[in-house]
């Protein structure tokens, strides 16, 4: 049972994982979650995470926000009554009771645009989140488990991709694929972005590789693939979820950047394209809400992902949690 240890236990291996990336983007240091024993398999781990999220205020806030966006994306028609693309209204109206956010320079209802714009963003976020995590997992686990030359080669590929500046690359690719659809954007962002989290997953897989229960499986004669799929991957659940969130966040930021530059799909209204049109129309003077609101949505969605991720960090490394009520004990100490 949980026995009280002496006051060490500094967040495990500390920052041997991915430092330096925006913390919400590289949240789980290889040590943080590992300190708690590496991982518990599949369902138990998910339940543990759910409990951890509800108990941590930051995570709950983030999760609630995310849920809100999912709902909006699922049933936009219920919330906004206008067709976002219909250019029927008078241009550049201010906010009013019939147009909560006013209208754009093309006569579209801004509120509908924001609401309907949620779905493409979430699609991209989840698409990239899933895709990049899967690739990162395959590469990371393969590199850790196969070792040797395979490890070296995969590592080099990962590192090179990590170093090449991504936005310029995306811009160039995007310009060649002028105005391609959402699916293409998902593919492109996934293909260039998986390397961020691949390194963390590899680090954890490496540490898990030498655990006893895996040795037992090997001695039992199980095949490598079995061991990888059935034993290793489920125990990495928490890190996989974190990787998903990281990649989703990165997708939101990069896709909206590309859309803002005009490289997105012109037929799809999303927050990034709204900002593109707003800049084109020089909305600073006439419709500041056009600039403010879509950006706020991006920040909100990004914050949702980031807060949950950061909370994971705190959960895995209790030292990071806010220090509270030590003053009481300190007072007692001093009074003697």
């Amino acid at each position: 049972m949980a026995m009280l240890q002496a006051p060490e236990e500094p967040g495990g291996a500390g920052v041997t994982g991915e430092p330096g990336l925006p913390p919400a983007i590289a949240p789980i240091t290889a040590g943080g979650l590992l300190a708690s024993g590496g991982g518990i398999s599949g369902a138990r781990s998910l339940r543990r995470m759910a409990r951890a999220i509800t108990s941590n205020r930051k995570a709950s806030a983030g999760a609630l926000l995310l849920l809100l966006f999912i709902v909006i994306a699922a049933i936009p028609g219920v919330i906004a009554h206008d067709n976002p693309n219909a250019e029927v209204y008078p241009k550049l109206l201010g906010p009013s009771s019939s147009h909560w956010l006013g209208t754009t320079a093309l006569g579209q209802d801004m509120f509908s645009q924001v609401i309907y714009g949620t779905r493409p963003v979430l699609l991209i976020a989840f698409g990239v989140g899933l895709g990049a995590t899967i690739i990162a997992m395959l590469v990371g686990v393969a590199a850790a488990y196969l070792g040797g030359v395979y490890d070296g080669v995969l590592n080099v590929i990962t590192d090179v991709l990590l170093v090449i500046p991504l936005l310029p690359l995306l811009i160039i690719i995007g310009s060649y694929l002028k105005g391609a659809g959402t699916a293409v954007m998902i593919i492109v962002i996934t293909a260039t972005g998986w390397s961020y989290t691949a390194r963390q997953l590899r680090a954890q897989a490496l540490s898990l590789r030498s655990r006893d229960y895996l040795e037992a499986a090997r001695v039992r004669g199980e095949r490598r693939l079995y061991i990888i799929v059935v034993e290793i991957i489920p125990t990495m659940t928490s890190l996989l979820v974190a990787s998903f969130l990281t990649n989703a966040l990165y997708a939101v930021l990069f896709s909206s950047s590309l859309q803002f530059l005009g490289l997105g799909d012109p037929n799809v209204t999303s927050w990034g394209t709204m900002l593109y049109w707003a800049e084109q129309a020089e909305a600073f003077q006439v419709a500041p809400l056009w600039i403010i609101v879509p950006g706020l949505c991006i920040v909100a969605l990004g914050a949702a992902f980031a807060l949950i991720n950061y909370a994971f960090d705190e959960i895995g490394n209790p030292a990071l949690r806010p220090v509270r009520s030590m003053r009481r004990s300190a007072r007692v100490q001093r009074s003697r």
């Binding site: 026995m3 009280l4 006051p7 007692v332 003697r336």
Partner: protein
Amino acid sequence: MSSVPGSESAGPAEGSGRLASRAGSPAAASFPPAGAAPVPDAAGQPVLAVRDLTVEYVMERGTVTAVDHVSFDLGPGEFLGVVGESGCGKSTLLFAIAQLLAPPAGIAGGSVAFRGTNMVGLTDKELAAIRWKDLSVVMQSAMNALNPVKSIGAQFSDVMRAHGVRSKQEIAARSAEVLRMVGIDPVHLGSYPHQLSGGMRQRSMIAMAMLFTPDLIIMDEPTSALDVVAQRSLMVQVKELQQQFGFAVIFVTHDMSLVRHFSERLLVMYAGQVAEVGETRRMFASPLHPYTAGLMEAFPSIRGPRVPLTGIPGSPPDLAQPQAGCWFAPRCTRVMPRCRTSQPDLYQVDGTLARCFLHQEEAPGGGRP
């Protein structure tokens, strides 16, 4: 060599006059239970006097008492072993004595008098005068306890300069001297921790602890990370230094065989409390507390008769769930009904203190809360 395999204790008590005489003078029943303490030497007072030391961890799910009203005395030059299972609080006790606790842990009560001065409640600045000059610490893993980006010499020099030694020659000379004391070639002053072997790192930690020949050196499982051969060699080195310089040692370990050979007095901890404390030889010969007895049985002598290995059934208690009765009751082989309902005090038997109702009748007037 003072340690002979099989002997009860490598007692250096026959050595220099600074070291304590044998413990065991019959004690008064009054508080503090001086029975387990040696008679102080001519200097007049014990080096360390711990009274009712209590350490709490303040966590989200509640407060846990990791060290519960621990009291003991330590005479000059004495070697006190502190043993117990993992998580019994022995390391916490050590850090509490050295005033090295960090949130969420904190001293919630009690006093730690070093040469008469209570260290509890002093600020780091006030403690700086005592630290290292009179009281130094050796930690479990030298790899973790040494700054990885500074050379050994630089770390020695940091300490000396922090305590007023300015001259480079003095620093260099003393650094070389302490390294030689532990059998390391002073050329390693320029080495980084990762360049030394495990045993050498541990020795250099001891050398560092000796820089000002303190009165008390606290050691937290310094041998756990070493192999058996290195262990013995390190312990012998420590005993030799102790004989030569006469400092007291508090030695925390979970290895009973080490304390048996090297310590004069022994303190057994369980669930943050003192379970038994007294003279080592006596405790090994006839343990009073059932837990101590269990520990002894788990480490049979290599020369004694062959006995089946017995452990202690059950597992250490979760300190977050307070108990009404004795902490050890669930695992005790000699448990009585009252053990489950009330907590025993420390009772004295012939100079040894034991926290067990079995010995309550023998102590005149009982012990203390």
